[in-house]
Amino acid sequence: MSSPRHALGPSRFERALRSSVVLYVVLLVMLPLVVLVGFGLSDGPASFCERLMAPAARSALWLTLWTALLVGTLNTFLGAATAWVLVRYRLPARAVLSALVDLPLAIPTLVAGVMLAILYGPGSLIGSSFHAWGLDIVFARPGIVLALLFVTLPFVVRAVEPLLSEIDPAEEEAAIVLGAGPLRRFFTVFFPAILPAAISGGIRSLGRALGEFGSIVVIAGNIPFKTLTAPVFIFGEIESGAPKTAAAVSTFLLLFALGLHAAARMLERRTGVRRAAG
């Protein structure tokens, strides 16, 4: 196994084991994705663009892009603030709150969607009062943003938290002695320390939001040109037997997500941040 017999190198058995793991991962992960991209681009770039620019596809992609971007940005700040509160203040229910932050990692996103739909839906107190003000949440765009905020909540919080707790209290004390107010302290002491982690967490949220399906299906209502997101659009195209369009939109989103993924990985490697799994 993990034998440290460096001089001899790994035994034949270890090498066989290693190769089977590599083969397993290549067959399971790489092959299907390569096939997907290959199929998506198989008719040449012109028809690829044409499929992406068809009105229904374009509006779904646009909706997904802007909601994901919004959620990624919001999450960077709200997540950093949440982590700040969790680390900095000894709240009574701190353990419970900290566990709650992990909840979206454990709960099925479909279940999350159902819960949000019940809470903010037209039948509920909150949903109906918002409706009275002319704002629908469920089966409308705010519901999409809400669901995305739910499923991406842990990413920034968990990326930022370890860094916040590692900051030397002496630094903040020095800032106090030098006469810096709380806001100035936040921006000079804490903000620079957590910025890379917050950004990589934000990128993760954005990437995750691009692909979210389970909760959106329940809460968005999936009305074409209004609340139909790209993943749900892809699903619809698969169901209605249009794999070419589905593959084109998938390829576009996949390449975008892979770019984000690579960027986040690079940032994490440089800062030594460990990201929330999920």
Binding site: P4, V21, L36, L78, L91, A106, G211, L260, H261, R274
Partner: protein, 260 residues
């Protein structure tokens, strides 16, 4: 904190209240129906398969990733991370294109007589894809942290590779393995998009707990849907408690090690 409440706590409370309206008894009775039970059983079978597969792949993969030097290391590391970045629907589509009608590997599947799409093997493949990262990443992280000196000591003292593995490496990665496996279980129970596309949600055959909920909502069978939502919700909260417990333990052991 208001934010956490609005996004996390209230929805859970709303679910409980709403199920209370229908009657928890009614909702739970709905879950006892044959279709619901078979969906639950399917999900559990998938969990077992995913746990076994990922315990093995995670352990050996992480050891290879951290302790070995070989040409495919960077590739392995990148690929193990990748499933987290891919939308479940796209995973389903990718496997449809690979294994479905006219797919690259379909002739091969036909000759050995295995049907993957819209059948059980499809669910397994989709599940294995989405759960790949959890064990391997957790274990790799811990292996890197603890370094190699204990293993080297064991082998200097004459332990065989297997003895070193079972007496030194495995106890060291136990907690990480447990954490990864709990995440694997949670993710398997919650997977929806990929098993829907690849499995087709055929009642009694390829329907899992999540696709059962979706079908129940579409058919306006709300008690069925809420009953299953409640079951999954309670299960995931239980898994979450397990995760938090492991986290607390891990913190205790790492501070213990730092003090030494």
């Amino acid at each position: 904190m208001f934010y956490l409440g609005a996004v996390l706590v209230c929805p859970m409370a709303a679910l409980v209240v709403e199920t209370g309206h229908i009657g928890i008894g009614v909702a739970l009775a709905a879950v006892a129906k044959p279709a619901a039970l078979s969906a639950l059983r399917m999900s559990l079978v998938l969990v077992v398969i995913a746990l076994v597969a990922n315990a093995l792949v995670g352990t050996f993969g992480a050891i290879a990733l951290v302790r070995h030097r070989f040409w495919a290391k960077g590739l392995l590391s990148a690929l193990c991370d990748l499933p987290l970045a891919v939308s479940p629907v796209m995973i389903g589509l990718a496997f449809l294109l690979l294994l479905g009608r006219g797919g690259l590997l379909t002739p091969l599947l036909d000759t050995i007589g295995v049907k993957v799409v819209f059948s059980f093997p499809g669910l397994v493949i989709a599940t294995l894809f989405v759960t790949l990262p959890f064990t391997i990443r957790e274990i790799a992280y811990v292996l890197e942290e603890i370094g190699q000196s204990e293993e080297e000591a064991a082998s200097t003292l004459g332990a065989s590779p297997w003895q070193t593995f079972f007496r030194v490496t495995l106890p060291n990665i136990r907690i990480a393995l447990g954490y990864g496996l709990l995440m694997t279980a949670a993710r398997t129970l919650g997977e929806f998009g990929a098993v829907l596309v690849l499995g087709g949600s055929i009642s009694g055959q390829t329907q899992t707990a999540t696709t059962f909920i979706q079908d129940a909502i579409e058919e306006r069978q709300l008690p069925d849907a809420y009953g299953m939502v409640l079951v999954l919700g309670i299960t995931s909260v239980t898994l979450l408690l397990g995760l938090e417990w492991i986290k607390a333990r891990r913190q205790a052991t790492t501070t213990g090690k730092a003090l030494k």
